[in-house]
Symmetry: C2
Subunit: 301 residues, 2 copies
């Protein structure tokens, strides 16, 4: 077990979660969610996305949401930024950190962003430069790090190649997205073996989906390898566009439960997190798939 | 990773799963389930229980079910046997293996079987002796190996103590039941450290519940330690009497998906297993919580 016991959790429910929900919530409902998440102790919250509202109507109100949340000094509030126009909006909204996104799969990149991987990287060049100018940290997502819904299994060398180019651009953090939730622990080994010498596991963030129930087993393997930063969404909010009935992101409660009970420190309070998940379940009018959240009321003796 | 790549799966849906369902199914429905499970390639099926029908009305038809299933030579058909009367019924039904059950928690034993642990062991003495006489293998379940719903955390030495007495009785196999689904991987380490010198991990079966989403992460840890035999239920059938809305046993599909993709051999065909889960979901008129089953129709590329 690695020495580092502090685990950083980025709550991505308000962005990655809600983006995959059919229901469009009000600004009030989103602000309430984010304020409850702030109170739970998560390290970072991905608040929204400054992509075009025609692309993601669920998150068209990014400015209003940023203007009305109650910010805490202990929490980093970030958002997706797709291009220079998005960067202008993000800076006006005074966000703490930006997130750019590309993929390890050419087909996914073209279908998801209408651009080749190389084009996305060129598009992000001025964005990252501008962020550097104003000391704004930059996270870079790489989607499909294990499997692409169109191309199938992805060679870890493709992930390494894209990560290397992103580091050359000057990004501060690489977030490895297991976009469709097919990974098993041996895939996590291969992913990090592929990054050896370029990025240590402890320098990355891992983004898992629980589509096939393997997210927490993959998180365990990542913890064993030294990963200390994870994305997750409260209650397992979200879903998978490639598996209509499936669970969404790894549920924050499940990750926190595992980490806290294994002796890692997440600084997250489960009861406070439940309040956020309860709020969003009510707002969406549906149950959420997270196991710990679902078993709520039966806290372990 | 240990050398042994063959994983033995005991499908416990028809017994542990159905026992925790409110709906009582017909003999026909149970026989269809078991026949579909036989076709899926699982190594063993826990068919029913020869406990008193007043205790478990869901399984009152054990004789009829055993009489009507289509047995395959490759599958071991077992059932719970609580006492000598149950043993008589089990032998009349020509079952392949019997399962006896006690607990690592005195309170759980008293509440669940109305007997102290010592009393259950004495009660099983003639049952095991009789099984030995006719060369019938005996599995012994120990419940609450990590936490008891009444007593809280269980000292691994209690598990060792009970396991040791069961081995003295002459049982062939110890099945470690994490009854309420609270375990995290470090609990699995402590459990097996407690058994060191008495039982190697590869000599045990592990029975996990997914109440808090940690079952597959615990299974991964167990695989790393050398465990090669697991209980699970198709679709995650069942539930937890101590957490009304919670998921049930570790879903067989989730375990098989993880094992098969990690290079272990389960001999289970996922598509055939889906047929069993679909049948039982329809019979119960409810969805099942297993993640892979829920994501069915979106097989990984």
């Amino acid at each position: 077990m690695p020495d580092t016991k502090q685990i950083r959790i980025t709550e991505c429910g308000p962005r990655d979660g809600l983006q995959n929900e059919a229901t469009i919530l009000s600004v009030d409902q989103k602000v309430a969610l984010i304020d409850l998440l702030s109170a739970s102790g998560v390290a970072e919250i991905e608040v929204s996305s400054f992509v075009s509202p025609t692309w993601v109507p669920q998150l068209a109100d990014a400015e209003q949401v940023f203007a009305r949340i109650s910010r805490r000094d202990s929490v980093v509030y970030s958002a997706l930024v797709p291009n220079e126009e998005g960067m202008r909006r993000a800076m006006d909204a005074k966000i703490d950190k930006i997130a750019i996104f590309t993929a390890a799969s050419e087909t996914f990149s073209r279908k998801n962003t209408n651009a080749t991987i190389a084009q996305t990287l060129r598009r992000f060049e001025p964005v990252v430069a501008q962020a550097k100018d104003v000391d704004l940290p930059v996270r870079a997502y790489i989607s499909c790090v294990v499997t692409c819904p169109y191309e199938g299994p992805i060679d870890p060398r493709q992930v390494r190649d894209v990560a290397s180019q992103l580091l050359d651009l000057g990004v501060d953090e690489i977030d490895l997205g297991e976009t469709i939730g097919v990974a098993v622990p041996t895939d996590i080994d291969r992913l990090y073996e592929g990054l050896a010498g370029l990025l240590e596991p402890g320098q990355t963030t891992l983004h898992l989906h629980d589509t096939r129930g393997t997210a927490l087993a993959c998180a365990l393997r990542a913890l064993q390898l030294g990963v200390t930063s994870f994305d997750s969404s409260c209650g397992g909010l979200g879903g998978c566009p490639y598996a209509p009935n499936a669970a969404g992101n790894l549920a924050t409660e499940d990750l926190v439960y595992l980490c806290n009970r294994m002796g890692y420190e997440t600084s997250v309070d489960l009861a406070a997190l439940f309040a956020a998940s309860r709020h969003i379940a009510a707002a969406l009018g549906r149950s959420l798939p997270g196991r710990v959240f679902t078993a709520d009321g039966s806290a372990p003796p």
